[in-house]
């Protein structure tokens, strides 16, 4: 597993998500109001809704198409069985997002 710098944390407003492409892989990265960051697969397993456009609260993201909710830490769908692929992600001391692929 390699860790890649994918840009400054400031690229993602607090409480929102953005899609990044690194090494040909598309990843949704979320920056919560509490300052945590999470990374998951970009599309909702239900109907491929763009998760980065979803509403984020605490560590939950809600798909904008049909309100499917997922826990960003575990990737687990709340109240159902779908699971998102999650990626290890952290912020370096200089504010760079480091994503592990």
């Amino acid at each position: 597993m390699n860790e890649y710098p994918i840009g400054a944390l400031a690229q993602i407003p607090k409480g929102e998500g953005r899609n990044f492409e690194v090494e040909g892989v598309k990843v949704a990265v979320f920056h919560t109001q509490r300052g945590e960051i999470f990374a998951t697969q970009p599309d909702c397993p239900h109907r491929k809704g763009p998760l980065a456009d979803g509403l984020v609260g605490e560590s939950t993201v809600v798909c904008p198409l049909h309100d499917r909710s997922y826990d960003l830490k575990s990737g687990k769908e709340l109240g159902a069985d779908c699971v998102l692929k999650t990626y290890r992600v952290r912020t370096a001391p200089d504010g760079t997002i480091m994503l592990a692929l």
């Binding site: 710098p5 456009d53 909710s69």
Partner: protein, 819 residues
């Protein structure tokens, strides 16, 4: 500011809870926290040990704070380290292996231990318990008992109190013949009177437990291993294992050695501080407050709060005033609730009693001066919640005493969860109400486990777990019309819209994050509550609203309507459906230039460019050079119109002109649900104004009828005539006033057709037309302020409000390598 050092001796339920309370008050910024625990794990719920013993629960299920919790909260945990001395002069504690840790503030929460009476033969020469003899207090004890029970045939339990009986139940489950030896005249003297004790004994015996009362054990027989018991009356009992559950003793020796005042336990003041040292606090079973030492969990929670309030300065006046003891428990399958005294103690005390021994039902209340001072409910504890609340609050009792014991009259009066008021406590140990559970479920916790973890309901004594399960299931699954949260504006804040507005105004909350912090359960964000709160705040504060883009649904962040493939639709403004050849040409050119996959006329007489990727939207807007049509949000959408007076041979009023004025005034006004408007030049209603949220229909002589609450979507409803006015200005004024009233009073996503029926046309007319409440001017002013604050969001094409606002994909900024 340098942090103070808070050292906590004891990592049981008391110590950990006290630390949690400190952290909840921002204590992490005030203190470096160090905890010492005897046992080599994180802390666990001691009350549930009996479930481990009986095999109902697994060990892993009773841990309250796993080791991660300590790390996450920067707490240094010394587990398996026994503190042997406190040097108060040096402000330091010392452990058995001579570790010395200094403190500024010290908390003693050493709890208590099983009391082993000095019966002959119970100890071995080295002071440890004889092989086959166990206390019942720790996970270790539990492990030992379970292992021994598997080898044993006949087990004895000394002590017929709650814990002893729990131990008996556990042993029974492991297939042993079980004998309970009790010194007193009846079982569970702390909770029961003699009659209740007798009924419980009969119940126990029916299950196969042998109960021996008034038996004083004089010796534990057997040379190296327990082989039997000898009693004062000369009899003996064979057994191959023994559990001693003869009460607990506070672990107060540390206090004694440190020179603190110790009576039965370490004596504290009302701030839970040792009376001798203002830097030493004591909570839990090792604390003695106003002469009382508590062995139950509920008082501990109260003490922990007072301690935390005081030590963090959150409330320096916080005082513990003692606890009234009420417990609900299940002993070997028998449900039991007990509170206060078990017998009348004064001549004037009333006793209200019912007994049905055959069915194991017993109820007894002791009433003094019209108030409940004690009670026992056994076998049927339906009234327990009510009685325990009455007892706790010291509220006056109804004259009809019978109703205290039974629900009388009518069909089965079992209080269903539907009927249970929101403030009813479900979990008495942790003070969790039905309402709190509801808020928690609404915040996304859909499983009983999740709710229990978040609220701690059911995590105290555990006796309410089945009720918690029921309540969670009830909130999570259906029964919608009874669900109180349907009346809340957002599910995570248990307030109806008017109450929420009051709270927001009083606390001057201007951003969604501020509302969550101040009003939501635990200050937690709920993603789906963000847009409704954003809408409400914008309505209330208009230009003063502190816009947080993450609180908006994606449509409102990028000003288009998201489609199933993640692209957006773009609808420029076209008031009254009026356009021009030049405008159409430009739209066509834009569609060509940007390869817009679909161009479609909308139901609102506009043109929709469908399928535009997010990152192309700014360019499309730039080329269109038209204002946004607001076709994406919970807001004023559009006002369609018929041809009107200039060309139509039936036209009675200038519907097109009025539509343009309406759109010019109200465009972009946010609202609880979308607002679709129309104007019609005559009652033929070609523009369908009578089935719009708000419609104006010309009836001649310059007069207009205003319709409200119409719908022609999934729901079809002809609007109601609010009033007839005689000028276009009056139409604008009254439509605006109605919409403002709707904005302030409708629930989130409540369309006008529901709103008008819910509030009632007469009431709306009284407020909006006749100004019965004297708020008409205020509504008008508020609408003026809101309209003045609206701007064309498509201008954000040149000045994005957030980083990468319209980006669909951001390429990673990989550093350029050297090779």
């Amino acid at each position: 500011m340098t942090k103070q050092r808070l050292v906590v001796i004891g990592n049981g339920m008391a110590g950990a809870r006290a630390v949690e309370e400190v952290l909840a008050r921002g204590g992490a910024d005030l203190f470096e926290i160090t905890m010492f625990g005897d046992e080599p794990y994180g802390n666990y719920n001691r009350i549930l040990l009996s479930n481990i013993l009986s095999g109902v629960q697994d060990k892993s299920e009773i841990f309250l704070n796993p080791l991660d919790w300590y790390a996450e909260n920067n707490i240094t945990l010394h587990s398996g380290a026994r503190v042997t001395d406190i040097d108060r002069a040096a402000h330091a504690v010392k452990t058995a292996n001579s570790t010395v840790v200094h403190y500024d503030k010290l908390l003693i929460a050493t709890g208590s231990r099983a009391f082993i009476p000095p019966i002959q033969g119970v100890f071995q020469a080295d002071g440890s318990l004889k092989s086959g003899v166990f206390g019942f207090r720790t996970i270790n004890d539990c492990d030992g008992i379970v292992a021994a029970a598997k080898q044993s045939r006949k087990a004895a339990v000394i002590g017929g109190g709650l814990l002893g009986l729990e131990a008996a139940r556990g042993l029974l489950n492991h297939g042993c013949e079980v004998h309970v030896i009790h010194l007193g005249p009846h079982l569970m003297e702390m909770q029961l009177d003699s009659q209740g004790g007798a009924i419980l004994k009969a119940g126990m015996e029916k299950m196969g437990v042998h109960v021996h009362l008034k038996m004083s054990t004089t010796a534990v027989l057997g040379k190296d291993k327990v082989e039997g018991l000898a009693f004062k009356d000369g009899t003996t009992l064979d057994c191959d294992m023994l559990v001693v559950s003869a009460g607990i003793r506070p672990n107060a020796e540390l206090g004694t050695r440190a020179g603190l005042t110790v009576e039965r336990a370490i004596v504290v003041d009302n701030h839970m501080r040792s009376v001798d040292d203002m830097n030493v606090y004591v909570v839990g079973e090792c604390a003695q407050h106003r002469g009382k030492v508590y062995g139950l969990v509920a008082p501990l929670w109260d003490q922990a709060k007072v301690f935390a309030d005081h030590i963090t300065g959150a409330n320096p006046q916080a005082q513990y005033v003692g606890s009234k003891l009420a417990t609900k428990l299940k002993v070997m399958g028998v449900e039991l609730a007990s509170m206060g005294v078990t017998d009348a103690t004064e001549e004037s005390d009333e006793t209200v009693q019912f007994s049905e021994p055959k069915r194991g039902i017993y109820k007894k209340l002791i009433v003094r001066e019209g108030r409940l001072i004690g009670g026992i409910l056994m076998g049927d504890i339906e009234k327990a919640a009510f009685l325990m609340q009455t007892f706790d609050r010291d509220s006056p009792l109804p004259e009809e005493r019978l109703s205290l014991l039974f629900d009388l009259g009518g069909p089965s009066q079992k209080v269903t969860i539907d009927e249970m008021p929101a403030d009813t406590q479900v979990c008495n140990c942790n003070g969790v109400t039905k309402g709190k559970i509801g808020a928690c479920v609404a915040s996304g916790k859909k499983t009983a486990k999740g709710v229990m973890e978040a609220t701690r309901a059911g995590m105290g004594c555990g006796s309410c777990k089945s009720l918690v399960n029921e309540v969670v299931a009830w909130f999570a699954g259906g029964a919608l019309e009874e669900d109180p949260s349907v009346h809340y504006y957002v599910p995570c804040i248990p307030l109806k819209k008017p109450e929420l507005i009051t709270a927001i105004r009083e606390q001057n909350l201007k951003s969604v994050s501020a509302v969550f912090k101040a009003l939501a359960f635990d200050g937690r964000e709920d993603p789906l509550s963000k847009p409704p709160l954003a809408s409400l705040l914008l309505t209330l504060w208009a230009g003063e609203y502190e816009d947080e883009r993450d609180a908006r649904f994606i449509n409102d962040r990028v000003h288009g309507n998201i489609q199933k493939d993640g692209t957006f639709s773009i609808v420029p403004e076209m008031p009254g459906g009026i356009t021009s050849a030049a405008e159409l040409r430009r739209i066509a050119d834009v569609a060509d230039k940007h390869n817009v996959p679909l161009v479609k006329l909308t139901g609102g007489q506009r043109i929709d460019l469908v399928g535009v990727p997010k990152d192309q939207m700014p360019a499309v807007w730039r080329d269109l050079d038209m204002p946004a049509g607001w076709a994406w949000g919970k807001s004023y959408r559009t006002c369609k119109s018929c041809i009107g007076i200039d060309y139509c041979r039936f036209g009675l009023g200038d519907s097109m002109g009025l539509a343009v004025k309406i759109e010019g005034k109200f465009r972009g006004i946010d609202s609880p649900a979308k607002l679709k408007l129309a104007t019609a030049g005559c009652p033929r209603n070609c523009s369908e104004a009578m089935v719009k949220d708000v419609g104006a229909v010309a009836i001649g002589d310059g007069k207009w009828e205003i319709y409200i609450g119409g719908a022609a979507g999934a729901h079809v409803r002809k609007g109601d005539v609010l009033c007839t006015v005689d000028s276009e200005d009056a139409v604008l004024k009254l439509c605006g006033r109605f919409m403002q009233f709707y904005r302030e009073n409708a629930k989130w996503k409540e369309r006008t057709y529901t709103f008008v029926e819910r509030i009632g046309l007469e009431r709306i007319r009284a407020v909006v037309v006749d100004d019965a409440d004297g708020i008409a001017a205020a509504l008008d002013d508020a609408m003026e302020v809101s309209t003045a604050a609206v701007y064309d969001p498509w201008k954000e094409r040149d000045a994005p409000k957030t980083a990468n606002q319209f980006a669909t994909l951001i390429p990673a900024e990989l550093p350029v390598g050297d090779d």
